[in-house]
């Protein structure tokens, strides 16, 4: 069935179990080709939303429109032709074969007194092909692994040939390779077949890799919705899920990622008090190389600063998160004279300077110049992982040369962040 424009629209949807309000005035539109992820903690009303849209629950107030038509005016089969649901898991009462399971997805197209026609078998075969279950079409569903079973259920949903695919935490009990495989499959269906995909996910990272839009659900209300960039930030995640996260950017894909912050409670007696000789430390950042040493020194009680790093750099996120001062440069721009000067100010006021295993190119070569000046200023300079400078040098040997000079002039080479801690306590 092909419908253009609004595939699914909810208008002021309210639902209660007895006196307990589960969904409170939910309104949203999903257009053709959308990939929307609904995120929220347990009990936010996500499952209720699935049950309402697939018409398992019916006593709602407000309006649900599917393909421009009121859900209440559609028969069960009409709804199943428009929306296919991929549930979390399925447990058939009998041991059907894979083919028998998938053909059940054609039910909306077969009348009570009719039988499966050739086009139904073709559609089932095509669905099995897409979900890669055709090779074991004649095996028993009950004998498959969890991931294979879920592929069969996806094939069953694809056999429904519906413009909307509703994912109800379809990968939550699967291992990582199946999660990736399925998200790629859903992405492809969204891009190549222009299927509208609405998904509920537990894993925020999995959701934001493929989604075009995010809807954050909290206590039955839409907390925030919009693009991934607009919705996924520390404040929103903390408000919705109540947990502190760190939001960074994948250096390869450029997409956001969320990782939880575990309270690194440091033993009291291991904290170095500021009375130490090298209590103020400046760390050169870049490409995430500094994050480990920054958080280690921070949790050990040192006063840290960081620079110069680009705005989208992981090291900058780390610095922001820990609330330490930093010098930042605009994304993908070379370090300006101004930034370099401010960085030098930090270095001058520090007792020690740390140079982690940063990659050097023409854009951040000036950071190395600053480190050289630090050695000249008689600061204690500690260099991590000096051996691999050749691999990290993208300046045609200039960086390696200066690096050698810095070490010759008295910088201390070490192998790990933990060793930095030891050298600062000397």
């Amino acid at each position: 069935m092909s419908v253009n424009g609004n595939m699914l629209s909810l208008k002021n949807l309210n639902f209660s179990y007895g006196k307990k309000k589960i969904l409170d005035d939910i309104s949203f539109n999903a257009e053709k080709g959308d990939f929307i992820s609904i995120l929220g903690p347990n009990g936010a009303g996500k499952s209720t939303l699935v049950n309402l849209i697939s018409s398992i629950l019916k006593d709602y107030r407000g309006q649900i429109e599917v393909g421009g038509r009121n859900l209440k005016g559609l028969s069960s089969k009409d709804i199943a032709k428009m929306i296919a649901v991929v549930p979390q898991y399925t447990n058939p009462g009998f041991s059907f074969t894979v083919a028998e399971m998938v053909i059940m997805g054609r039910n909306p197209y077969i009348s009570r007194f009719g039988a499966e026609r050739k086009e139904d078998f073709n559609a089932a075969d095509e669905a099995m092909e897409k979900a890669r279950v055709l090779p074991f079409a004649n095996r028993k569903f009950s004998e498959l692994s969890g991931g294979e079973k879920q592929r069969v259920i996806i094939a069953q949903a694809l056999a429904q040939d519906s413009p909307i695919l509703f994912l109800d935490e379809p990968t939550s009990h699967l291992d990582i390779n199946f999660q990736i495989e399925f998200m790629n499959l859903f992405s492809n269906l969204n891009k190549k077949e222009n299927k509208t995909i609405i998904g509920i996910f537990q894993d925020i990272n999995l959701a934001i890799q493929s989604s075009k839009k995010i809807m954050l659900l909290k206590e039955g209300r839409i907390f925030n919705s919009g693009s991934v960039e607009d919705t996924i930030n520390r404040e929103n995640i903390r408000s919705v899920f109540g947990s502190d996260v760190f939001i960074g950017r994948n250096p390869v894909t450029g997409s956001l990622y969320v990782s939880p912050v575990f309270n690194t409670t440091v033993e009291r007696d291991s904290i170095i008090q500021a009375s130490n000789k090298y209590s103020k430390v400046h760390v050169i950042g870049g490409g995430g190389a500094a994050s480990q040493v920054i958080s280690l020194l921070h949790s050990s009680g040192y006063i840290i600063s960081c620079g110069v790093v680009n705005t989208l750099d992981t090291d900058l996120d780390t610095a922001r998160m820990l609330g330490i001062p930093y010098v930042a440069e605009a994304p993908f721009s070379p370090i300006s004279q101004d930034s370099q000067n401010r960085n030098l100010e930090f270095i001058k006021s520090s007792d020690a300077v740390i140079l982690p295993a940063v990659e050097f190119g023409p854009g951040n070569f000036s950071n190395l110049v600053s480190v050289n000046k630090a050695v000249g200023l008689r600061k204690r300079v500690i260099i991590i992982d000096k051996e691999n400078i050749e691999k990290r040098d993208h300046t045609g040997g200039k960086a390696r040369e200066l690096y050698g000079k810095i070490i010759k002039d008295g910088a201390i080479p070490v192998d790990s962040a933990n060793e930095v801690l030891m050298r600062l306590q000397e």
């Binding site: 697939s54 069960s76 447990n91 429904q160």
Partner: protein, 347 residues
């Protein structure tokens, strides 16, 4: 092979077996009648073929034995077997539970109590050849089904667990009442026990003429819900997502299967195991797809009951054994054998 072709294949094979067994069963008994004569007599009863069959050379007494005594009994047993196996498939599918049988929601104890009341308290000839016992058994079975069904209906939905529990509870109470009547009317105890054990000794054409069309119609109507039954076995909510009107289909099938079981039990008494085991045997042979399983089980149920009843009336000739004893003693070991064999294959 696609489901349709497979279904047809199994049904044709099972129907041929059933036909041959009917001829063999009709020729066996105290009076020895040859297979050839039996075949001719049976053929002469089939409209359309009877013009080409000449039974002049067969003794009149044999014709009477076969067409008035054995044939109604054979056909009645076949139809009761079909009804029990069909209802068994439906209940097992609806409850997603292999322990379910046609009596699972209390049809049998309701029928037993009704039959007991009919036997002990009511005197009369019954209606159009149907005995008062049968009529009261039917009323008891239907009444119990109605009661259990209404107890388990909560806000328009039927809860399976409530259905099973209220069925068990009500059965216990109805059986207790039946036993109480047996104690106060000791002189009727043998009659009651004999009815409850089940059998086809009192089979007549008038019983068959009532039973056959009702069972046939109900079984055929139920047959149109087998795709839904497949999908419902994935779970109620999943079935809704696949476009099945789960609540309505479940109610419809529940009522149809209960009616089928009620009619069967009122005609034959309580014959165990056929409705439970036949679907299992057929599931092992043809797989779980109800579109094949249901028609195959229905015919196989007829075969199982026919064989059991033939054994019941011939093993200790001229004495008869209640058919329920045969179904249990012969059916259960066969079923256990299949169960063990399939276990070795699959696990």
């Amino acid at each position: 092979m696609r489901a349709g072709t497979r279904t047809l294949k199994y049904i044709v094979i099972l129907l041929i077996i059933l036909g041959l067994l009917i001829i063999i069963a009709a020729s066996t008994g105290v009076a020895k009648i040859s297979l050839k004569d039996t075949g001719l007599i049976l053929a002469s009863r089939i409209p359309g073929i009877n013009h080409f069959v000449n039974t002049d050379l067969i003794e009149n007494q044999d014709i009477v034995i076969i067409s008035q005594i054995r044939l109604p009994r054979i056909l009645l047993s076949v139809f009761v077997g079909m009804a029990l196996a069909g209802a068994g498939v439906i209940f097992q599918g609806l409850f997603r539970n292999p322990m379910a049988d046609p009596y699972v929601i209390g049809v049998s104890s309701g029928a037993a109590l009704g039959a007991t009341i009919g036997l002990v308290f009511i005197t009369g000839a019954g209606l159009s050849g149907i005995s008062t016992t049968t009529i009261f058994a039917l009323l008891g079975a239907l009444g119990t089904t109605f009661l259990v069904y209404n107890i388990s209906r909560i806000r328009g939905k039927v809860s399976v667990i409530t259905l099973l529990l209220s069925g068990i509870a009500l059965s216990a109470m109805l059986s207790a009442i039946t036993y109480f009547i047996m104690i106060i009317k000791t002189q009727d105890m043998a009659k009651i026990v004999f009815w409850v054990m089940g059998g086809f000794t009192s089979a007549t054409w008038s019983n068959f003429v009532i039973l056959a069309p009702i069972v046939t119609v109900l079984i055929i109507i139920s047959g149109f819900f087998m795709r839904d039954l497949n999908i419902i076995s994935l779970g109620d909510e999943r079935a809704v997502q696949l476009g099945v009107q789960t609540d309505r289909v479940k109610k419809t099938l529940l009522i149809l299967a209960s009616l089928i079981a009620a009619v069967a039990v009122s005609m034959s008494g309580i014959i165990g195991f056929v409705g439970l085991i036949t679907p299992h045997i057929l599931r092992l042979l043809v797989g779980p797809d109800h579109k094949i399983l249901y028609p195959a089980s229905v015919i196989a149920g007829g075969i199982v009951m026919l064989v059991s009843d033939t054994l019941a009336r011939t093993v200790l000739m001229p004495r008869e054994i209640p058919v329920g004893i045969i179904t249990a003693i012969a059916g259960v070991p066969f079923f256990l054998y299949l169960l063990v064999k399939s276990k070795k294959q699959f696990f």
